[in-house]
Structures are given as structure tokens and as C-alpha cells.
């Protein structure tokens, strides 16, 4: 399982300090949730696309990821336009498509895609290791950071383990169907997986205790807030403030 596709590369976003990137991602996500104006949302999506282009990640990969994320949004497009009460625009059989429904769908699509693309550019360009390191520096409780880091560390190991057991089952002629036998087999596979990971967790802990683990992860390397980071921070903050300002001014125009 290779999940960190996007972390490879060398761009402004890859080089920047992960602490800053986490904070900026939070800032932009929250801001997009609060924005309601279509024009501003559209601008946000455009700037997110621009940021993604700057990361230099393969376009095919990005598009595939965004398509998957939009499955839920597409489902909403199929349902919301005719279930939302409001003024109907046109009619297909007994079904009224309402203007309000379309507006809600469009807002959701823009918001969702803007946030996803901002997060792709800012968070997915760091390795999980760098992110947990940064979370520790950001004073997130150690227990949480350690859980996060360890879960990630062993994800691949367990994934491999699972595919091994699954392969063994398939080699013995197991064909998944809707039957009690299938569910029982899956349950046994999962049970084996849990037993093995439990045992491995025990061994990992003893190994750590042998090396003097007392519950603290000492941070030996520290991040430096360099010139790149300053540039990225100010650019993103400027973008965010601009979006807010446009939203605010358009609101004022509408009400006057």
C-alpha cells in the first residue's frame, strides 16, 4: 500500500515547514466552510487548483483522487435538486427540479473541492513522519501523536499481513459470496490479523522498554522557520484575507 504518493517531489510546498502547513490548512479549511458567496467560492477553487499545479504532483493522480472524493457529491446532485423545497425550474414527470436544490448542490461541490485541494497541496505533500513531528511541536498531546505515528508505522506491515492471509485463503479455493461461510472466513481472517497485531504490539512495547522508553518521545531535530516558510505563510494568509474581504464587500453590496 503506497499512500504517500504526493509527499514525493520538490516544490515550495514540499520544502515548507510542516507546522506552518498544518496551521495554514486548518485556516483555509475553516475559512471555506464560512464562505457562502459563489463568486468567492469559485475564486477559492481556482486558487486551490493553482496551488496544486505549483506542487508539481502528477495531474493524473490528482484527478483520480478528486474523482473518488466527488462520489458523495455526485450522489447529492442526484438527490438534492428534487428533494429540496422551493421554486421549481422545470419538471421531469412528477419530479420538480428546484432552484434552491441546485444552489445547495453547487455550493457543496465548490466547498468540498476547494477544501480537498487545499489539503492536498498543504498536508499530503508532507510525509506522515514529518506531520507527526510537527504535531508534537504544535503541543498536541503526546499520547495522540504517538498513537498517530505508530498506527501509520504499522499500517503497511499489517496490510501486507492481511494480503498474505487473504492470498492463502484464495489459494485454497476461497471464493467470496453472500453466505455464512464467507462471513465466517472473513471473521477468522480478521481475527488472525488482530491476534497478530496484538502480539506484535506487545513485542514492540517490550523492545521499546528495553531501550529505555518511558512515555516520552524526545525531539532531537527542530524545524526552522525559513524564508520559504515566510513566503508561503504570507502568500496563503494574503489569499485568505482577500477571499474574506471580497466576501464581505459583496455582502455589503447585496444588502445596500
Amino acid at each position: 500500500m503506497t499512500c504517500e504518493h504526493f509527499a514525493k517531489g520538490d516544490s515550495l510546498f514540499h520544502r515548507a515547514d510542516p507546522r506552518i502547513k498544518i496551521l495554514l490548512a486548518l485556516f483555509l479549511s475553516l475559512e471555506v466552510v464560512f464562505i457562502n458567496d459563489f463568486f468567492v467560492l469559485f475564486l477559492a477553487v481556482l486558487s486551490a487548483i493553482f496551488m496544486l499545479c505549483m506542487t508539481g504532483i502528477s495531474k493524473v493522480l490528482i484527478l483520480r483522487r478528486i474523482l473518488v472524493v466527488n462520489v458523495f457529491v455526485i450522489a447529492l446532485w442526484l438527490i438534492l435538486p428534487w428533494t429540496t423545497p422551493g421554486t421549481s425550474i422545470f419538471q421531469i414527470g412528477p419530479v420538480h427540479i428546484t432552484w434552491q436544490g441546485l444552489v445547495i448542490c453547487m455550493a457543496i461541490t465548490l466547498k468540498c473541492n476547494a477544501i480537498v485541494m487545499f489539503n492536498m497541496a498543504l498536508l499530503s505533500t508532507s510525509t506522515i513522519f514529518a506531520l507527526s513531528h510537527a504535531l508534537d511541536h504544535l503541543k498536541v498531546p503526546q499520547v495522540l501523536v504517538q498513537l498517530f505515528f505508530f498506527s501509520w508505522r504499522y499500517l503497511h506491515v499489517l496490510e501486507e499481513e492481511y494480503s498474505k492471509i487473504k492470498r492463502a485463503a484464495l489459494l485454497r479455493g476461497f471464493r467470496p459470496k453472500t453466505s455464512f461461510f464467507t462471513y465466517k472466513t472473513y471473521a477468522n481472517i480478521l481475527g488472525t490479523l488482530f491476534v497478530r497485531s496484538y502480539d506484535r504490539g506487545q513485542r514492540v512495547y517490550w523492545a521499546m522498554v528495553c531501550r529505555g522508553f518511558n512515555g516520552t518521545f524526545w525531539l532531537l531535530s527542530h524545524f526552522e522557520f525559513g524564508r520559504t516558510d515566510l513566503f508561503l505563510t504570507s502568500a496563503v494568509l494574503f489569499l485568505g484575507l482577500c477571499l474574506l474581504a471580497i466576501e464581505w464587500s459583496r455582502n455589503c453590496l447585496l444588502y445596500n
Binding site: 499512500c3 504517500e4 479549511s29 471555506v32 466552510v33 483522487r65 478528486i66 473518488v68 472524493v69 458523495f72 450522489a75 447529492l76 438527490i79 438534492l80 428533494t83 429540496t84 434552491q100 436544490g101 445547495i104 455550493a107 461541490t109 465548490l110 466547498k111 476547494a114 477544501i115 489539503n119 498536508l123 499530503s124 506522515i128 498531546p141 499520547v143 495522540l144 504517538q146 498513537l147 498517530f148 505508530f150 498506527s151 501509520w152 504499522y154 499500517l155 499489517l158 453472500t178 455464512f180 464467507t182 462471513y183 472473513y186 471473521a187 480478521l190 481475527g191 490479523l193 488482530f194 497485531s197 496484538y198 504490539g201 506487545q202 514492540v204 512495547y205 521499546m208 522498554v209 512515555g215
Partner: protein, 414 residues
């Protein structure tokens, strides 16, 4: 089921974030540093397990396993689910930063509530019973998660109520599979590595099998009771139209009660007239004379409703107060109206022009009042129909009570 970014309203998002913060606080207090590798590995295992696609009929679904996580980890399931979702958000962009709180709460709260309950009843004494209890907890956790997702959607805006219903419906088959898998995995783990459940299973008051059965029965009764009582409330609505008493019988979901029995008692005689409603739930009968008529609807399974119509000498007071005997809200409505009734031979005074005018008037009034009567009738039907919100709030009460119980149980554990 994750809810994407940008869908939910800000109050819902912040409520979810608060619940998750509280849950994380409790969860992390219960984790000592010696347990971190174990919990982390279990989190990773659950992450992998949630990528497993299990066939259900023609399609397939991925497992959620929030119930099993609650059974195995207890309160520590909160941080575990949180971290699983953070990893998904960063790696696959499913969910996201702003929806992290609500998504975690939706999955973790039912998982932990039902998991903690099941944990108290799992023992090495009886594998099958333990598996059954855990399985029920697993199924209920998925249903609970589906319900909470539906609720967060419908609280975010009226337009989402249909989506919410569809999503809750989609969780039902998954819950069945999930219950099976959770039960079977629990059975496997009890046989192979019971330490995973973290508490000494043998020392438990093991006469608990009786307790377990009682709890099981309790849960099943609670689950079935809203469905039952919501489905079969009946109402009757009737009026006097000058010659006949006409009316309609319908269930609380607005469907007509077909072929139901209507008993008519009156104050004139002891004779009871028995009527049957037609395919549209309608019935009618000729009025013999001025009296008070009591209509009693019997729709089977002991569900009945009554209404009283008084007909005076030349005035017909219509009291259409249907009362459901189920004793929920007796939505009181009485429509009082008076209709001219000249068809009685007793008040036929001077014949001729006067009578003619009366007859014409009657016809005109009848024509004009019919739509109003029908309107009142549909209004009555729609008022007594149980809405999605009522069901949601019913489930809410159940989950609230169970949550309280789970909380007390966890207190007792310490």
C-alpha cells in the same frame, strides 16, 4: 460513512468537534503509555479491516467495525477512530479537517456505548452468548452511526432529509453483515487470545448469562417497540353530511385502513350497526334520527379509535375528535360545524317555495362545503402522520438512555 467537506452546517460541525474533544479527553485518560503500541497496532488493524470489502448480495460494502473497536478497546476507541480518520483524511482525502470532529463522533459514540455494554457481558463461560452479545453490539453500532450521520445531515438543513433517509436505509444491510462479522470475530478472539479484551474475563460475576439474556431482550424490545407503535396507530374521522354519516379510517402513516370494522352505537337504541371500510378506508351509513352516534373503529391487533357525532333535531353538531387508544399524543382537534338539516320530516313546515329554496340552498352549500371537508380531512391525516423527525427523536431518546447506561457502567468499572 464519511460526510464530505462543505455539506454540514457550522453548528453541527462545531457540536461534533466538541463531542470529539470530550471523547478524546476521556479516551486518552484511560490510555497508559504501555498500551500505546497495542492500541496503535489495533488502530492500524482496524484501518486495514475497513478496507476489506465484503460481498452483500450483488454489491459489496466495506466494514466499519466501530462496534468491535468499542468492544475491544472501550474508551480508547475514541482516539483510535479519530486517528484512523486523520490518516484517511491525509492519505486519501476522505473526510477532512473540518468534518473530522463530527465524523469521529458519529462513528465512535455508538461504537463505545454499545461496546462498553457488550464488554460487561462477554465471558469465557459461554462463547456463543458472548458472540451473540458482541454481534448485536456491532450491528447496533453501525445502525447508530448511520442514524447519527442521518441526523447530522437533517439538522444541517431541511433539504437533506431525503438524503438522510437514504443513508440510514443503506446502513441497514451493512449492519446485518457487521453484526455477523463482529460476533464471529469476538468468538474467534475469545478462543484464541482472550487477553485482547483487556479485562480478566474469568473473574467476572459469571452468573451473568441470565443478565445477558435479559439485557438482550431489553435491547430487542427497545428496538422493536418504536417500529411497532409507530406503525399501527389508527385514527377515525367522520362527519355528518345531512343524510349520512361518512368517514374515513387511516393509519398513522396516512395509509387508509382497508376492510376495518366500524361499530356504530347510538343513543336511540341498543342495536349496534357493524360496517366495513372500503379499499379507500371510507365508510358511510344512513342516519336514523337525531341522536348521539359513537363510531368505534377496530383495525385488528387491538388497535382502535373512537369518535362521537351528535345530531340534534335540526342541527348537526359534528365533533370529529378522533382519539388514538395507543395513548401517544392525543392530538385534539374538534371541528364544529353546523349544517342545515331539512330532510327530516318532523320540521317540514309549510310546503312549497320555502322548501324549494331550502333544497337549493342545501345543494349549493353541499357543493361548496365538500372541498372544505376534504381539506379538513387531509389536514387531519397529515397531522397525525408520524414524521421522520419523530422517529429520529425516538431513536435519539433510546441512544441517550443507552449512553447514560454505558457511562454509569464505565464508572462502575473503575
Amino acid at each position: 460513512m464519511h460526510i464530505s467537506e462543505g455539506v454540514l452546517s457550522i453548528p453541527v460541525l462545531s457540536a461534533g468537534a466538541m463531542v470529539t474533544l470530550a471523547g478524546l479527553g476521556i479516551g486518552m485518560r484511560n490510555v497508559s503509555h504501555s498500551e500505546i503500541p497495542k492500541i496503535a497496532l489495533m488502530t492500524a488493524a482496524f484501518f486495514v479491516a475497513s478496507l476489506v470489502h465484503v460481498p452483500i448480495g450483488p454489491s459489496n460494502a466495506h466494514l466499519v467495525l466501530n462496534g468491535l473497536l468499542g468492544v475491544i478497546l472501550g474508551w480508547a476507541a475514541f482516539p483510535a477512530i479519530f486517528i484512523g480518520l486523520v490518516l484517511q483524511a491525509v492519505l486519501f482525502q476522505f473526510g477532512g479537517l473540518t468534518t473530522l470532529g463530527i465524523n469521529t463522533a458519529n462513528m465512535a459514540v455508538p461504537g463505545i456505548v454499545f461496546g462498553l455494554m457488550a464488554r460487561r457481558l462477554i465471558s469465557l463461560e459461554n462463547f456463543n452468548l458472548s458472540a451473540l452479545v458482541a454481534g448485536i453490539a456491532g450491528g447496533l453500532s453501525v445502525l447508530g452511526a448511520g442514524f447519527m450521520v442521518a441526523m447530522s445531515l437533517s439538522l444541517s438543513g431541511d433539504s437533506f432529509s431525503m438524503v438522510a433517509k437514504l443513508i440510514f436505509g443503506a446502513h441497514i444491510p451493512i449492519a446485518v453483515v457487521e453484526a455477523l462479522i463482529t460476533g464471529l470475530v469476538t468468538r474467534f478472539l475469545l478462543r484464541v487470545r482472550p487477553e485482547i479484551f483487556g479485562c480478566d474475563l474469568k473473574k467476572k460475576a459469571i452468573g451473568s448469562s441470565l443478565k445477558a439474556i435479559m439485557l438482550l431482550a431489553f435491547v430487542i424490545v427497545i428496538l422493536l417497540s418504536p417500529a411497532n407503535s409507530f406503525a399501527h396507530r389508527v385514527s377515525i374521522f367522520a362527519w355528518f353530511d345531512g343524510k349520512e354519516i361518512v368517514g374515513r379510517a387511516y393509519y398513522s402513516n396516512g395509509k387508509p385502513a382497508k376492510g376495518a370494522k366500524v361499530l356504530v352505537h347510538n343513543t336511540l337504541s341498543d342495536k349496534v350497526i357493524t360496517l366495513r371500510t372500503n379499499d379507500k378506508g371510507r365508510f358511510s351509513f344512513k342516519v336514523r334520527g337525531p341522536a348521539s352516534y359513537t363510531l368505534e373503529l377496530i383495525a385488528g391487533q387491538g388497535h382502535r379509535a373512537t369518535t362521537v357525532i351528535k345530531i340534534n333535531d335540526n342541527l348537526a353538531d359534528i365533533e370529529g375528535g378522533a382519539e388514538a387508544t395507543q395513548g401517544y399524543d392525543n392530538s385534539e382537534r374538534s371541528t364544529k360545524g353546523s349544517l342545515l338539516n331539512s330532510s327530516h320530516p318532523s320540521d317540514a313546515e309549510p310546503a312549497g317555495a320555502c322548501q324549494k329554496i331550502e333544497r337549493v340552498l342545501e345543494r349549493v352549500l353541499d357543493r361548496q362545503l365538500t372541498p372544505i371537508r376534504q381539506e379538513i380531512e387531509t389536514l387531519a391525516v397529515s397531522q397525525s402522520r408520524i414524521t421522520f423527525r419523530d422517529i429520529i427523536s425516538g431513536f435519539g431518546y433510546i441512544i441517550g438512555i443507552m449512553g447514560l447506561w454505558g457511562y454509569m457502567a464505565s464508572k462502575r468499572d473503575k
